[in-house]
Protein backbone atom coordinates (compact mmCIF):
# COMPACT_ATOMS: atom_id res chain seq x y z
CA UNK A 1 0.00 0.00 0.00
CA UNK A 2 1.44 3.38 -1.00
CA UNK A 3 1.74 6.36 1.36
CA UNK A 4 -0.98 8.14 -0.61
CA UNK A 5 -3.40 5.21 -0.17
CA UNK A 6 -2.66 5.12 3.57
CA UNK A 7 -3.42 8.82 3.82
CA UNK A 8 -6.72 8.34 1.98
CA UNK A 9 -7.69 5.51 4.36
CA UNK A 10 -6.78 7.62 7.44
CA UNK A 11 -8.65 10.63 6.03
CA UNK A 12 -11.77 8.57 5.30
CA UNK A 13 -11.70 6.96 8.77
CA UNK A 14 -11.33 10.42 10.37
CA UNK A 15 -14.27 11.75 8.37
CA UNK A 16 -16.43 8.70 9.17
CA UNK A 17 -15.72 9.03 12.91
CA UNK A 18 -16.36 12.78 12.82
CA UNK A 19 -19.55 12.72 10.75
CA UNK A 20 -20.81 9.62 12.58
CA UNK A 21 -19.95 11.10 15.99
CA UNK A 22 -21.66 14.41 15.17
CA UNK A 23 -24.74 12.67 13.78
CA UNK A 24 -25.16 10.28 16.70
CA UNK A 25 -24.42 13.02 19.24
CA UNK A 26 -27.35 14.94 17.77
CA UNK A 27 -29.64 11.88 17.59
CA UNK A 28 -28.89 10.92 21.21
CA UNK A 29 -29.24 14.53 22.33
CA UNK A 30 -32.69 14.86 20.72
CA UNK A 31 -33.68 11.47 22.12
CA UNK A 32 -32.40 12.35 25.59
CA UNK A 33 -34.28 15.67 25.57
CA UNK A 34 -37.64 14.01 24.78
CA UNK A 35 -38.43 14.01 28.51
CA UNK A 36 -36.77 17.41 29.00
CA UNK A 37 -33.76 16.17 31.01
CA UNK A 38 -30.49 14.35 30.35
CA UNK A 39 -29.93 11.45 32.76
CA UNK A 40 -26.50 10.30 33.90
CA UNK A 41 -26.62 7.34 31.50
CA UNK A 42 -27.64 9.56 28.57
CA UNK A 43 -24.87 12.01 29.48
CA UNK A 44 -22.32 9.18 29.45
CA UNK A 45 -23.49 8.09 25.98
CA UNK A 46 -23.20 11.65 24.69
CA UNK A 47 -19.71 11.88 26.14
CA UNK A 48 -18.66 8.79 24.16
CA UNK A 49 -20.03 10.39 20.97
CA UNK A 50 -18.04 13.59 21.61
CA UNK A 51 -14.87 11.55 22.25
CA UNK A 52 -15.33 9.65 18.96
CA UNK A 53 -15.99 12.96 17.20
CA UNK A 54 -12.78 14.49 18.57
CA UNK A 55 -10.70 11.45 17.62
CA UNK A 56 -12.15 11.80 14.11
CA UNK A 57 -11.26 15.49 14.04
CA UNK A 58 -7.66 14.80 15.11
CA UNK A 59 -7.30 12.06 12.48
CA UNK A 60 -8.87 14.28 9.82
CA UNK A 61 -6.53 17.19 10.58
CA UNK A 62 -3.38 15.04 10.76
CA UNK A 63 -4.16 13.12 7.55
CA UNK A 64 -5.32 16.31 5.81
CA UNK A 65 -2.08 18.10 6.54
CA UNK A 66 -0.16 14.96 5.55
CA UNK A 67 -1.79 15.32 2.12
CA UNK A 68 -0.48 18.88 1.97
CA UNK A 69 3.03 17.68 2.85
CA UNK A 70 2.69 15.04 0.13
CA UNK A 71 1.72 17.71 -2.43
CA UNK A 72 4.64 19.87 -1.30
CA UNK A 73 7.18 17.05 -1.58
CA UNK A 74 5.89 15.82 -4.93
CA UNK A 75 5.93 19.24 -6.59
CA UNK A 76 2.16 19.79 -6.63
CA UNK A 77 2.23 23.00 -4.59
CA UNK A 78 -0.34 24.69 -6.84
CA UNK A 79 -2.99 22.46 -5.21
CA UNK A 80 -2.36 24.28 -1.91
CA UNK A 81 -3.97 27.42 -3.36
CA UNK A 82 -7.21 25.66 -4.28
CA UNK A 83 -10.23 27.67 -3.10
CA UNK A 84 -12.04 24.45 -2.19
CA UNK A 85 -9.13 23.43 0.06
CA UNK A 86 -9.17 26.79 1.86
CA UNK A 87 -12.94 26.62 2.30
CA UNK A 88 -12.58 23.12 3.76
CA UNK A 89 -9.78 24.22 6.11
CA UNK A 90 -11.86 27.20 7.28
CA UNK A 91 -14.84 24.94 8.01
CA UNK A 92 -12.68 22.36 9.84
CA UNK A 93 -11.17 25.21 11.91
CA UNK A 94 -14.70 26.32 12.84
CA UNK A 95 -15.49 22.87 14.37
CA UNK A 96 -13.16 23.19 17.42
CA UNK A 97 -13.92 26.92 17.78
CA UNK A 98 -17.63 26.04 17.93
CA UNK A 99 -16.90 23.33 20.53
CA UNK A 100 -15.02 25.83 22.71
CA UNK A 101 -17.76 28.48 22.46
CA UNK A 102 -20.37 25.83 23.33
CA UNK A 103 -18.32 24.64 26.30
CA UNK A 104 -18.11 28.16 27.76
CA UNK A 105 -21.78 28.80 26.88
CA UNK A 106 -21.06 31.73 24.58
CA UNK A 107 -23.16 30.25 21.79
CA UNK A 108 -26.77 28.98 22.06
CA UNK A 109 -27.28 25.22 21.86
CA UNK A 110 -29.46 25.42 18.73
CA UNK A 111 -26.70 27.22 16.83
CA UNK A 112 -23.82 25.11 18.19
CA UNK A 113 -25.46 21.81 17.19
CA UNK A 114 -26.37 23.17 13.74
CA UNK A 115 -22.83 24.47 13.18
CA UNK A 116 -21.27 21.14 14.27
CA UNK A 117 -23.55 18.99 12.11
CA UNK A 118 -23.35 21.29 9.05
CA UNK A 119 -19.57 21.67 9.30
CA UNK A 120 -18.97 17.93 9.36
CA UNK A 121 -21.31 17.25 6.44
CA UNK A 122 -19.88 20.16 4.42
CA UNK A 123 -16.33 18.83 4.98
CA UNK A 124 -17.55 15.39 3.86
CA UNK A 125 -19.23 16.77 0.72
CA UNK A 126 -16.19 18.89 -0.18
CA UNK A 127 -13.99 15.83 0.29
CA UNK A 128 -16.16 13.63 -1.95
CA UNK A 129 -16.66 16.04 -4.84
CA UNK A 130 -13.37 16.78 -6.57
CA UNK A 131 -14.81 19.02 -9.28
CA UNK A 132 -16.15 21.82 -7.12
CA UNK A 133 -15.96 24.91 -9.31
CA UNK A 134 -17.36 27.36 -6.74
CA UNK A 135 -15.20 30.12 -5.29
CA UNK A 136 -14.19 30.32 -1.62
CA UNK A 137 -16.86 32.91 -0.86
CA UNK A 138 -19.58 30.94 -2.65
CA UNK A 139 -18.77 27.78 -0.65
CA UNK A 140 -18.69 29.67 2.65
CA UNK A 141 -21.94 31.46 1.71
CA UNK A 142 -23.69 28.15 0.97
CA UNK A 143 -22.29 26.75 4.21
CA UNK A 144 -23.76 29.62 6.25
CA UNK A 145 -27.16 29.18 4.57
CA UNK A 146 -26.97 25.43 5.28
CA UNK A 147 -26.32 26.11 8.99
CA UNK A 148 -29.61 27.99 9.29
CA UNK A 149 -31.51 25.36 7.29
CA UNK A 150 -30.17 22.62 9.59
CA UNK A 151 -30.94 24.78 12.66
CA UNK A 152 -34.54 25.18 11.44
CA UNK A 153 -34.94 21.41 10.88
CA UNK A 154 -33.52 20.62 14.35
CA UNK A 155 -35.82 23.28 15.84
CA UNK A 156 -38.88 21.64 14.22
CA UNK A 157 -37.81 18.22 15.57
CA UNK A 158 -37.41 19.66 19.07
CA UNK A 159 -40.84 21.35 18.86
CA UNK A 160 -42.34 18.02 17.76
CA UNK A 161 -40.97 16.29 20.86
CA UNK A 162 -41.96 19.19 23.12
CA UNK A 163 -45.57 18.88 21.89
CA UNK A 164 -45.50 15.12 22.47
CA UNK A 165 -44.21 15.77 25.99
CA UNK A 166 -47.12 18.14 26.67
CA UNK A 167 -49.67 15.65 25.34
CA UNK A 168 -48.32 12.73 27.38
CA UNK A 169 -49.77 13.71 30.83
CA UNK A 170 -53.21 14.23 29.21
CA UNK A 171 -53.06 10.70 27.76
CA UNK A 172 -52.14 9.33 31.19
CA UNK A 173 -55.08 11.10 32.80
CA UNK A 174 -57.63 9.53 30.41
Amino acid sequence: MSVYSLLIVAHIIGTILGVGGATFAEIFHVRAMRDGTITEEEGATLKICYTVLRIGLALLVLSGFSFLIYYRLTGQEELLYSEKLWAKMTIVFIIPINAILFQIRKIPTWLATAVSLTSWYTALILGIYHDVSHSYLEIIGLYIVAIFVVAFILHRINIHYALLREKKPETNKT
Binding site: V61, R72, E77, L80, Y81, I100
Partner: protein
Amino acid sequence: MTILYTSLIVHIIAGLVGVISAFALLIGLLHRVPKIRSLKIWSVITFFSFILSWATGAYYYVLYYGKAVKPVILAGGAPWAHKIVMEAKEHVFLFIPFVAFVIMVGIFAAPDAILGDRPIKKSLAWLSAFVFVLGALIALAGVAISGAARQ
Protein backbone atom coordinates in the same frame (compact mmCIF):
# COMPACT_ATOMS: atom_id res chain seq x y z
CA MET B 1 17.79 16.07 1.10
CA THR B 2 16.17 13.23 3.07
CA ILE B 3 17.06 14.83 6.42
CA LEU B 4 15.65 18.14 5.21
CA TYR B 5 12.40 16.55 4.10
CA THR B 6 12.21 14.60 7.36
CA SER B 7 12.70 17.81 9.32
CA LEU B 8 9.90 19.47 7.31
CA ILE B 9 7.54 16.55 7.93
CA VAL B 10 8.37 16.43 11.67
CA HIS B 11 8.03 20.24 11.89
CA ILE B 12 4.47 20.10 10.49
CA ILE B 13 3.22 16.96 12.26
CA ALA B 14 4.71 17.94 15.66
CA GLY B 15 3.19 21.42 15.30
CA LEU B 16 -0.22 19.90 14.56
CA VAL B 17 0.06 17.54 17.53
CA GLY B 18 0.85 20.63 19.63
CA VAL B 19 -2.26 22.42 18.33
CA ILE B 20 -4.48 19.37 18.92
CA SER B 21 -3.14 18.86 22.45
CA ALA B 22 -3.57 22.58 23.22
CA PHE B 23 -7.23 22.16 22.21
CA ALA B 24 -7.56 19.08 24.47
CA LEU B 25 -5.93 21.06 27.27
CA LEU B 26 -8.36 23.94 26.82
CA ILE B 27 -11.43 21.67 26.78
CA GLY B 28 -10.07 19.91 29.90
CA LEU B 29 -9.59 23.22 31.72
CA LEU B 30 -13.13 24.31 30.82
CA HIS B 31 -14.66 21.32 32.62
CA ARG B 32 -16.24 22.12 35.96
CA VAL B 33 -14.02 19.52 37.67
CA PRO B 34 -10.90 19.13 35.51
CA LYS B 35 -8.98 15.86 35.49
CA ILE B 36 -5.53 16.94 36.68
CA ARG B 37 -3.76 13.82 35.39
CA SER B 38 -5.10 14.42 31.85
CA LEU B 39 -4.17 18.09 32.03
CA LYS B 40 -0.61 17.19 33.03
CA ILE B 41 -0.27 14.72 30.15
CA TRP B 42 -1.70 17.14 27.56
CA SER B 43 0.44 20.02 28.81
CA VAL B 44 3.62 17.93 28.50
CA ILE B 45 2.63 16.78 25.00
CA THR B 46 1.85 20.39 24.00
CA PHE B 47 5.17 21.72 25.25
CA PHE B 48 7.39 18.99 23.78
CA SER B 49 5.52 18.96 20.45
CA PHE B 50 6.13 22.66 19.99
CA ILE B 51 9.77 22.33 21.02
CA LEU B 52 10.22 19.54 18.44
CA SER B 53 8.38 21.55 15.78
CA TRP B 54 10.46 24.60 16.66
CA ALA B 55 13.82 22.78 16.40
CA THR B 56 13.05 20.93 13.15
CA GLY B 57 11.49 24.07 11.64
CA ALA B 58 14.62 26.05 12.47
CA TYR B 59 16.82 23.35 10.92
CA TYR B 60 14.80 23.37 7.68
CA TYR B 61 14.62 27.17 7.61
CA VAL B 62 18.33 27.80 8.13
CA LEU B 63 19.68 25.05 5.87
CA TYR B 64 17.15 24.98 3.04
CA TYR B 65 14.29 27.50 3.03
CA GLY B 66 16.41 30.65 2.89
CA LYS B 67 18.58 29.41 0.02
CA ALA B 68 16.16 27.36 -2.07
CA VAL B 69 12.51 28.24 -1.30
CA LYS B 70 12.55 31.93 -0.39
CA PRO B 71 14.01 33.12 -3.75
CA VAL B 72 11.37 31.08 -5.62
CA ILE B 73 8.54 32.63 -3.59
CA LEU B 74 9.91 36.16 -3.97
CA ALA B 75 10.20 35.71 -7.74
CA GLY B 76 6.76 34.07 -8.03
CA GLY B 77 3.19 35.38 -8.13
CA ALA B 78 2.72 35.61 -4.36
CA PRO B 79 5.80 37.28 -2.82
CA TRP B 80 3.59 38.43 0.10
CA ALA B 81 3.65 34.79 1.27
CA HIS B 82 7.22 35.35 2.39
CA LYS B 83 7.32 39.12 2.96
CA ILE B 84 4.26 39.18 5.21
CA VAL B 85 3.09 35.68 6.15
CA MET B 86 6.49 34.03 6.71
CA GLU B 87 7.96 37.07 8.47
CA ALA B 88 4.97 37.12 10.83
CA LYS B 89 4.99 33.33 11.29
CA GLU B 90 8.66 33.05 12.20
CA HIS B 91 8.37 35.77 14.85
CA VAL B 92 5.05 34.73 16.36
CA PHE B 93 6.05 31.05 16.47
CA LEU B 94 9.09 31.94 18.59
CA PHE B 95 7.11 32.49 21.75
CA ILE B 96 4.55 29.67 21.50
CA PRO B 97 6.84 27.10 23.23
CA PHE B 98 7.39 29.60 26.06
CA VAL B 99 3.65 30.03 26.57
CA ALA B 100 3.24 26.23 26.43
CA PHE B 101 5.97 25.97 29.09
CA VAL B 102 4.15 28.44 31.34
CA ILE B 103 0.93 26.40 31.01
CA MET B 104 2.77 23.18 31.87
CA VAL B 105 4.43 24.73 34.93
CA GLY B 106 1.10 26.22 36.04
CA ILE B 107 -0.67 22.86 35.87
CA PHE B 108 2.10 20.99 37.68
CA ALA B 109 2.53 23.71 40.32
CA ALA B 110 -1.09 24.48 41.17
CA PRO B 111 -3.34 21.42 40.76
CA ASP B 112 -5.30 22.22 43.94
CA ALA B 113 -5.95 25.80 42.85
CA ILE B 114 -7.22 24.51 39.48
CA LEU B 115 -9.55 22.07 41.22
CA GLY B 116 -10.66 24.84 43.56
CA ASP B 117 -11.65 26.95 40.54
CA ARG B 118 -9.25 29.74 41.50
CA PRO B 119 -8.37 32.52 38.99
CA ILE B 120 -5.32 30.54 37.80
CA LYS B 121 -7.67 28.04 36.13
CA LYS B 122 -9.18 30.80 34.00
CA SER B 123 -5.75 32.26 33.21
CA LEU B 124 -4.42 28.86 32.08
CA ALA B 125 -7.54 28.35 29.96
CA TRP B 126 -6.94 31.71 28.26
CA LEU B 127 -3.30 30.82 27.61
CA SER B 128 -4.32 27.44 26.17
CA ALA B 129 -6.88 29.17 23.91
CA PHE B 130 -4.16 31.58 22.81
CA VAL B 131 -1.77 28.72 21.96
CA PHE B 132 -4.50 26.77 20.16
CA VAL B 133 -5.76 29.65 17.99
CA LEU B 134 -2.29 30.98 17.23
CA GLY B 135 -0.98 27.48 16.48
CA ALA B 136 -3.87 26.81 14.09
CA LEU B 137 -3.34 30.14 12.31
CA ILE B 138 0.37 29.41 11.99
CA ALA B 139 -0.45 26.01 10.46
CA LEU B 140 -2.66 27.76 7.89
CA ALA B 141 0.14 30.27 7.26
CA GLY B 142 2.45 27.32 6.55
CA VAL B 143 0.05 26.08 3.86
CA ALA B 144 -0.02 29.55 2.26
CA ILE B 145 3.79 29.73 2.24
CA SER B 146 4.24 26.21 0.79
CA GLY B 147 1.68 26.93 -1.93
CA ALA B 148 3.46 30.14 -2.89
CA ALA B 149 6.56 28.18 -3.88
CA ARG B 150 4.78 27.38 -7.16
CA GLN B 151 2.59 30.44 -7.70
